[in-house]
């Protein structure tokens, strides 16, 4: 599968979907939107320090949304010959409802300014043989550099495809994409000692970019597994935690960003309701959403509804600047139109959220965080739970360290509890350095204070 054949498929499909939408209109179905997601991928998987499987998959999924008289029906299908029947089925689902909301409607088209066709032609000369070679190289790194790290699973993937949206309102947008990606999961094992599992991943637009990032990710994975191998239980304490970028993004910040979702706000489930323009976090924290940066993997010119994306400020020095809206939620909030923040793909109805968050770096050197006096818990990863409404989170620290008097002691059986909204104001320092997570979102290290840390040993 190469770029030419994918473009041909895309062009044929534009015609097909436009004709289906026209046919539906002729038959009295006025509001139809079809979101198509096509992907072809070749994968090589690892298991137990060995190659496991080679796969080739191809699929085209369609998300069909029909709105009629204030009601909405949604069908997801991978069967092209019966797409028109699926439109009728979605219409029937909408008609069977008795609770209309006339704010529901498909958006009018808008001009898309940023065009991303992130498909590097060099990927057309690559195939499963190259993935097998990458797998061989990674197994070599493991054997030579990390013999005590067991690779439980891993995956190398070359994927190509497109997304396309067509609606009866005249929305028509598409983007091609292709990337190389890899991930690895495993743990350190030394005799009877087993460490906590860890993982890492990388992706790139071309072979050179991918290879550089993947090697760095693999070494990071190996170091994390080895670091967790000789972990010890500790006693609990009240104090500071140090979050690396992954932990900042995946756990602590996710709850806050979720509370800016237009749906949560409308349903009264968000603690951030009514806080626009107010200080909700430490003045050290500034965040923006930027899907328009051509060099990032998650950039896109249009959202799940085919509307243009844009750069927007979320938090400036702790003051809340914006919420995230799709067309429906914007209307419910009294706005004229959405802010291009509809999320999702063919397999989901449009949600609300950011595309590519960036967190402003701070003024501190991250190495200084590791030399603080007293006790600091370095939280590599939290295996736990979080509650969107209350903001409460709790979990077990995985691959973490107790930083004490310049020492770095790997820990196990340690729990942390907190509240994400309180935590926003517990930020003591943010590092200058950070990481581009998923080659997409810049996130620095954060030092926070005032946490309850539960351990199993007595002081």
């Amino acid at each position: 599968m190469d770029r030419t054949s994918i473009e041909k498929r895309l062009n044929d499909q534009k015609d097909l979907l436009s004709n289906l939408v026209k046919k539906a209109k002729t038959n009295g179905i006025d509001q139809v939107e079809i979101y198509s997601s096509y992907g072809y991928s070749e994968d090589v998987s690892l298991e137990k320090n060995d190659l496991n499987n080679c796969t080739a998959t191809e699929e085209n999924m369609f998300g069909i949304r029909v709105i009629t008289e204030g009601n909405q029906g949604f069908i997801i299908s991978n069967h092209i010959p019966s797409l028109y029947e699926s439109i009728e089925e979605a219409y029937s689902l909408a008609k069977s409802q008795s609770t209309p909301d006339f704010d529901l409607g498909l958006p009018e088209p808008e001009s898309i300014q940023n065009h991303f066709n992130q498909y590097d032609p060099s990927l057309d000369t690559m195939g499963i043989e190259d993935l097998v070679n990458s797998a061989k190289e990674a197994l070599g790194w493991r054997n030579d550099l990390y013999p005590k790290v067991n690779i439980d699973s891993g995956d190398f993937s070359l994927s190509k495809g497109y997304k396309l949206i067509v609606s009866s309102k005249g929305v028509m947008a598409h983007e091609l994409g292709a990337e190389l990606s890899a991930s690895v999961m495993g743990m350190g094992v030394d005799g009877d000692l087993v460490g906590s599992f860890d993982y890492d991943s990388a992706s790139g637009f071309d072979k050179g970019q991918f290879q550089t990032l993947w090697k760095k990710a693999f070494m990071n994975f190996g170091d994390k597994c080895m670091g967790a191998l000789y972990a010890k239980p500790i006693s609990g304490f009240q104090g500071k935690v140090l979050l690396p970028p992954e932990a900042v993004y995946s756990f602590f910040l996710g709850l806050f960003i979720g509370s800016l979702n237009g749906t949560s706000l409308r349903k009264g489930k968000s603690k951030m309701a009514g806080k626009l323009g107010e200080k909700v976090a430490s003045p050290l924290l500034s965040i923006w959403d930027d899907p328009t940066n051509n060099s990032f993997m998650g950039s896109t010119g249009f959202d799940r509804e085919g509307l243009p994306t844009s750069k927007k400020s979320v938090l400036t020095a702790g003051v809340l600047d914006t919420y995230f809206y799709n067309t429906y939620e914007a209307k419910k909030a009294g706005l004229k139109k959405s802010n291009g923040s509809a999320t999702g793909g063919a397999q989901s109805l449009p949600g609300c959220g950011p595309k590519q968050l960036q967190i402003a770096p701070g003024a501190s050197a991250k190495d200084e965080f590791f030399k603080l006096p007293g006790k600091t818990l370095f939280v590599n990863r939290i295996s736990g739970t979080k509650d969107g409404a209350s903001g409460d989170f709790s979990g077990v620290i995985k691959g973490g360290y107790l930083l004490e008097n310049g020492e770095k002691i790997p820990v196990r059986e340690v729990q942390i509890v907190g509240n994400a909204f309180d935590t926003l104001n517990q930020i003591e320092a943010i590092s200058k350095e950070g990481e581009l997570l998923g080659e997409s979102s810049f996130v620095p290290y954060m030092l926070l204070d005032g946490f309850t840390i539960t351990g199993v040993t007595e002081e």
């Binding site: 137990k48 409802q97 097998v132």
Partner: protein
């Protein structure tokens, strides 16, 4: 479908496995007095797996035709040959298995087909409307019904030849309560393999809704428990999470081969005498367990696998490849989520066998501890360290339940927790049927058991 697949295999030599999978998921959700979403998801295709030159190759197609399936077989073979040069540990052959042959039609399918969309929409809307009126503190109540209907045909060149179908309905209510700027949420959900009657056999939709709303409101006046190592009585839903997360994952044979804490422990004591743990494709004690499967995704009839017998580790969970490596019979534990997924070793219904105590006796015998109820989520590690989250923790003092506390994360080392089990109840319940397990791909599972008393690390203030 079986005939088409067999036709595709007619000229094949070597091992080829064809898995046709059609899946329809319907979901209906009501909130704030209206139906917020209705969705139907249909996905169909054939997954092709070959074993060639000592390694696996896999391809899939969404086009159900002889030529397309045969093309996928060739793609899979090419992929296998390409990887063979690198794979060190070749798979010489797969062991014989107790293959399923024939049609296996699940219970409840007619029931689910005969009920209209309107009936299902009315259910979520009525329950949501009634629930929202229960308390002025309820900020939001959401009610959802969903069902997954699946049919599969699995045919292999070495003897599997079956068609099976099943339906899995689920019902869930989530509530958010607010008071003085504080917000708390409560949720309750059930799921079964079977029809509508099976779904609501133990609890009516109203009872499920009442429980979710009450949890959200009650938690407004709760505080965090004191953190630390504590004696706990676990409800069946929590026992389900415990045995799934803490033990089940560590005994999946692929994870064992990667070095999980269960490696080399067959025949060793890993729990107290009171602990007998099983994972079954059937629904022991009563029908409807959410992870039931008549046939696994390698075409093997699943067993009731006794993992721990009276505290002694006795078996891992196997697919055909790991069964060959360990020299045992496959347990029928290979499962794939969609046609485009490769089958992995997964749990089905995981449960602890009931004991002889009663819940009342267990509470009366606990001087200082917690009763934990309401499963949320959980994860396990290769080390045997697990965590699971609970909605509610009730303090037990001098044999009586006292205040309600916020449920938090509970953790421990799997085998330590089982060694510390000192009371197991007579009562039994499947209580994780609305749950999905993640391991690279989702799987519908269930888990449950009796009430159990043990020691865990409770996160808290």
């Amino acid at each position: 479908m079986r005939n088409l697949l067999k036709e595709c295999l007619a000229e094949e030599s070597g091992f080829v496995e064809l898995r046709y999978h059609h899946k329809e998921s319907r979901s209906f959700h009501a909130e704030r007095g209206r139906v917020e979403s209705t969705a139907l998801r249909k996905r169909t295709g054939v997954g092709v797996r070959v074993l060639e030159a000592g390694t696996w190759g896999f391809a899939s197609t969404s086009e159900i035709s002889k030529s397309s399936i045969q093309n996928a077989i060739q793609v899979a073979k090419k992929a296998a040959r390409l990887s063979s040069a690198l794979r060190k540990d070749k798979i010489p052959h797969l062991p014989k298995a107790n293959f399923a042959v024939g049609d296996f039609i699940g219970k409840g399918i007619e029931d689910f087909r005969n009920r209209t969309v309107e009936e299902k929409l009315k259910l979520v809307l009525d329950i949501q409307n009634a629930a929202a009126k229960q308390s002025a503190k309820l900020q939001s109540v959401g009610c959802g019904y969903s069902e997954i209907y699946e049919e599969k045909a699995i045919v292999t060149t070495d003897g599997a030849d079956s068609f099976f179908s099943m339906v899995r309905p689920e019902f869930r209510v989530s509530a958010v309560a607010k008071e003085d700027g504080k917000m708390e949420s409560g949720s309750h959900s059930i799921g079964v393999t079977g029809g509508w009657d099976c779904l609501f056999r133990s609890q009516s939709p109203t009872e499920i809704s009442d429980e979710a709303c009450k949890t959200a409101v009650d938690l407004l006046s709760s505080s965090l428990p004191d953190g630390g190592l504590s004696t706990v009585i676990l409800s069946p839903s929590i026992v389900g999470l415990l045995v799934h997360e803490a033990i089940g994952h560590t005994v999946e044979a692929d994870f064992v081969l990667s070095g999980s804490v269960a490696q080399g422990k067959i025949g060793h004591r890993v729990g107290s005498d009171l602990v007998t743990l099983c994972d079954s494709g059937y629904s022991e004690y009563y029908e409807g367990a959410g992870g039931s499967i008549p046939v696994d995704d390698e075409g093997v009839i699943p067993t009731n696998t006794v993992i721990i017998k009276n505290g002694i580790l006795s078996s891992y969970l196997h697919n055909r490849e790991t069964a060959e490596r360990f020299g045992v019979a496959p347990t029928g534990s290979a499962r794939a989520w969609e046609y485009g997924d490769v089958p992995l070793i997964r749990m089905r219904n995981t449960f602890l066998v009931p004991g002889e105590s009663s819940l009342d006796e267990m509470i009366a015998n606990t001087k200082d501890g917690f009763y934990l109820d309401g499963a949320k989520n959980g994860q396990a590690d290769a080390t045997g360290e697990f965590m699971f989250a609970v909605q509610k923790a009730y303090r037990i003092q001098n044999g009586k339940i006292t205040e309600l506390l916020k449920g938090v994360t509970v953790s421990g080392l799997a085998f330590d927790v089982l060694q510390n089990v000192d009371m197991v109840s007579k009562e039994f319940k499947w209580d994780l049927g609305s749950g999905h397990c993640g391991k690279g791909q989702p799987a519908k599972v269930d888990a449950g058991g009796p009430y159990v008393r043990t020691k865990v690390l409770l996160g808290g203030k």
